[in-house]
Point group: C2
Chain length 217, copies 2
DNA sequence: GCCTGTGAAAATATTCACAGCG
DNA sequence: CGCTGTGAATATTTTCACAGGC
């Protein structure tokens, strides 16, 4: 059994592949047949050479002198990213942000299926969002076990995020996306990824002010 | 006038400084006096040496053999990130995600103040969120001009994001945080930063599956 | 001729390891 | 003695430049 290429794709490349996939999907839906790296790179907001290097991780997939066949490339990236298989996700914390995620149809077309929404507040339990009913936190372990959910999303207040993380990990979830503004500790074998919206704003603001300083000097 | 150190701090460092700031704020609120790089690094989820290197961009600010004075360091980072000055932000697209951001008190303590919420849907206009009233999109330019808002946040559907971006840029906004799943083009001098929630999920899922493959082989 | 695929080079970022100071 | 601050070493990422095929 040959191992055609190194199985590890850099994380930065994976993130961009997901972006290319979206652009390609739009192009394909618009009936576009082929696209060159320059145009695709511009639509994705990256450098053309970098895009080609990213794609090189998938093996040759373009036609020299022409470009890439839109649908073929789309399917290739989708397969590598595992969009085909539907992955069961649970979401804990159904505030505004949690509701936004539960409602967002985009996840479904990208291989994710929410199979459980949970909230500690009795007032939230029973609400219907995105075709699911919000359940009490006590049901978390049962649902994870029954659905074999491998992904958990935390949109709770910071104070309870670590305890939710512990429960998710203990229940068998292997990957956790954390929106709470705390750094979570998880046992080995469980991957935690953090998205901090206020950090994003702060970086943006800082880079803006830094740019102003540079312009003056 | 001397320029004590290079004025450009790497973007990755800026993002981590924002995280350190939050941890330090928590520690200070808990009455903690000093903290060593090891503990601070663990709480922030980074390597201790990296943390010290990040802080070195601010100039010496620790005590050898002891660690960092929590409140001093907190204030130092806050000043560098510009948390003191309050920056006016407008938010366009008051769906679930927009509401979550408008409601999130954390921005206020970090130097951001929402001064305008906008939505195209008449049903949304007039709603009260986080102390503000949602206004019609037509008011966007007037509010940006009147408040001198320098930051815009886009949480609209993808289809209209580019046109909102154009209007924000034309109205004088210099920094834009985009949550819509499209890559935006902006004129020079206007900074766009993108947060794509489904890309984050996709990266998480991919890294999880890649890890499984590695364990087997 | 044109655009891909890719080695080589440059730029960044991370990690190590230890000198230096309190 | 312990912990900071930092140069040196390493790893990673980005960019360039061009060989090679259509």
């Amino acid at each position: 059994m040959i191992q055609p290429r190194p199985r590890t794709i850099p994380e930065a490349t994976v993130a961009r592949l997901a972006v290319y996939l979206r652009v390609l999907t739009t192009l394909a839906d618009g009936g576009r047949g082929t696209v060159a790296s320059g145009e695709l790179a511009e639509a994705a907001g990256v450098n053309p050479a970098g895009l080609r290097k990213d794609l090189s991780h998938l093996g040759p997939c373009g036609v020299r002198g022409v470009g890439y066949e839109v649908r073929t490339l789309r399917d290739r990236i989708a397969r590598v990213l595992g969009v085909e298989r539907s992955r069961a996700c649970v979401l804990v914390g159904i505030g505004n942000l949690g509701s936004a995620l539960a409602d967002y149809a985009g996840f479904g077309t990208r291989g994710f299926e929410f199979v459980g929404l949970f909230d500690a507040a009795p007032a939230r339990v029973g609400q219907h969002i995105g075709g699911l009913t919000v359940r009490p936190l006590a049901d978390l372990e049962d649902v994870v076990a029954a659905t074999r959910a491998s992904i958990g999303v935390i949109t709770t207040p910071a104070e309870v995020a670590q305890s939710i993380c512990d429960r998710l990990a203990a229940a068998g979830v292997r990957s956790i996306l954390n929106f709470a503004p705390v750094t979570l500790a998880a046992p080995p074998g469980v991957d935690v990824r953090k998205v901090d919206l206020s950090v994003e704003l702060q970086v943006l603001a800082f880079l803006g002010q830094q740019r102003l300083v540079e312009e003056v000097s």
